[in-house]
């Protein structure tokens, strides 16, 4: 029987409280060892055609979110992390895990954990930290390429290398089905990893991420693994934010291969203004990449403004050719969408 989100929450919370109980010197966490942080946004979205993200040419203010993160230091080696995330439609446990420092370089984690995939998965909901309002298509929910979180265990190993550092993430478990998400998909085993090279050039990092995620669709009685390889490069400084990623996805369950890549750049001047642009491409079926139902290329142009160190805002426009994403999210039927269409989005974002 497919576990429900409620059962995931109870199972994860139980794991954490059991771990606390097994601490040899279990005691209440001191107030100074508890950290509370949060983030949120209020956005406006307008999809001129194809009704993407549930909006139309009238626009919608439904794009709002608030999250609270609790982190507690238990002792010199262990911490507990928990984040709750809510929108106008739902509240969910984003992640909750315990991490334990086995050695100076090696950390183990257990619980419901944000997936280490590419440059953005772990911060995909935190608009304040992103260059743009809409994420690259690789990370958008409709593509389902980058699972947000998993229930399982992980190890992280870090060591200095070549003047920089190498970070190895490896994990195994099951993709988290957040309560209210797709109902007929049953998640089986997930295994993945990421290697990050922080180069000697401050701000430049390179990554390779991969996973194999076995799923079953009980409605169609199909089962198979979705596998992805993702290559990432990013450079950030006080002024520049430049990122590019390329992914190949092979979904054996539905016998489809997909591909997506993007390049984006933003430059901050006068410490407050950040114009940015992005080119983004996806094909959801490489055997039908000329069909606008199965590809989409997007040119985006935006402007960010930093109000203060905790609040920023962004406005951007997306010029789309092809409508693969509205087809994936079932807002448009294949063959029935508008080929060239625009989307306007704006958002005010904060962290604390």
């Amino acid at each position: 029987m497919q576990k429900t989100g409620r059962q995931y929450v109870l199972k994860t919370a139980g794991t954490i409280f059991l771990a606390l109980g097994l601490q040899p010197t279990a005691q209440a966490i001191a107030p100074e060892d508890l950290s509370i942080h949060g983030f949120g946004n209020q956005g406006y979205m307008q999809s001129m055609d194809n009704n993407y993200l549930g909006t139309d040419n009238n626009g919608s203010w439904d794009d709002s979110a608030l999250a609270l993160l609790f982190a507690a230091k238990i002792d010199d080696k262990s911490k507990i992390w928990m984040q709750w995330y809510g929108t106008s439609e739902k509240v969910r446990l984003d992640w909750a895990f315990i991490d334990y420092q086995l050695t100076d370089n090696l950390t183990a984690r257990a619980g419901q954990i944000k997936s280490p995939i590419g440059l953005y998965t772990e911060i995909r909901d935190i608009r304040f930290l992103q260059l743009s309002v809409l994420m690259p298509m690789l990370y958008q929910d409709a593509s389902d390429f980058a699972h947000e979180a998993y229930n399982g265990t992980a190890v992280v190993y870090k060591h200095d290398f070549g003047g920089g550092s190498l970070i190895w993430d490896a994990y195994i478990g099951q993709e988290t089905n957040f309560e209210g998400s797709a109902t007929t998909i049953k998640n089986h085993r997930l295994a993945g990893g990421r290697v990050t090279y922080k180069t000697p050039l401050d701000g430049l990092e390179l990554m390779v991420s991969a996973y194999s995620n076995n799923k079953e669709d009980t409605a169609t009685a199909t089962q198979g693994a979705q596998q992805m390889w993702l290559f990432s490069a990013g450079y950030t400084s006080d002024n520049w934010d430049i990122k590019t990623e390329y992914a190949n996805i092979d979904n054996a369950r539905i016998d489809k291969k997909s591909k997506t890549y993007y390049m984006q750049a933003g430059y901050t001047f006068a410490e407050k203004w950040t114009p940015y642009l992005r080119y983004d491409y996806i094909t959801t079926d490489t055997t039908q990449s000329a069909d606008p139902s199965h590809y989409q290329q997007t040119n985006s142009l935006g402007l960010g403004y930093k109000i203060n160190s905790n609040i920023n805002m962004r406005v951007e426009n997306h010029w789309n050719n092809g409508y693969a994403m509205p087809v994936l999210s079932e807002e448009v039927t294949a063959g029935a969408g508008k080929m060239d269409w625009n989307m306007f989005v704006a958002s005010i974002n904060f962290i604390f």
């Binding site: 982190a71 911060i123 160190s309």
Partner: protein
């Protein structure tokens, strides 16, 4: 037993008198960007930061880490919200930094050079 201090203009980095680790600018930068959590000689690093309202914080970030306050804020936000690391403890004054550092053998902090006294040991470069 001497502690080592690293100078950056009129900002000085201080450690507890019992700390015998070799500390250079590279290690300080790693500590305050969440890249180093343990002393080479052992022990979990307890880093102390100063509040955003204090100009010494921006001075320290700029001269020691080569980063702006907003860059540091984004860096730590990324680490916090991806569950990688927690930021240093924040205090409001040089006196509080010295109090914390002198009471914890694994602590490190920064203060104005004019605030140095014998509660923490420093060595001029």
């Amino acid at each position: 037993m001497l502690s080592i201090a690293v100078w950056a203009g009129d900002v000085v980095v201080i450690v507890n008198k019992e700390n015998t680790n070799a500390i250079d600018k590279v290690l300080v930068a790693k500590i305050y960007t969440g890249e180093a959590g343990y002393w080479p000689n052992g022990g979990s690093i307890f880093a102390v930061d100063q509040s955003e309202a204090n100009s010494i914080r921006a001075n320290f970030y700029s001269s020691m880490l080569g980063k702006s306050p907003s860059n540091m804020k984004a860096l730590w936000a990324q680490k916090i919200f991806s569950g990688q690391a927690l930021p240093p403890k924040v205090v409001d004054t040089d006196a509080e930094v010295k109090k914390v550092v002198s009471a914890n053998k694994n602590a490190i902090g920064y203060i104005k050079a004019s605030s140095v006294d014998d509660s923490v040991k420093v060595v001029a470069k």
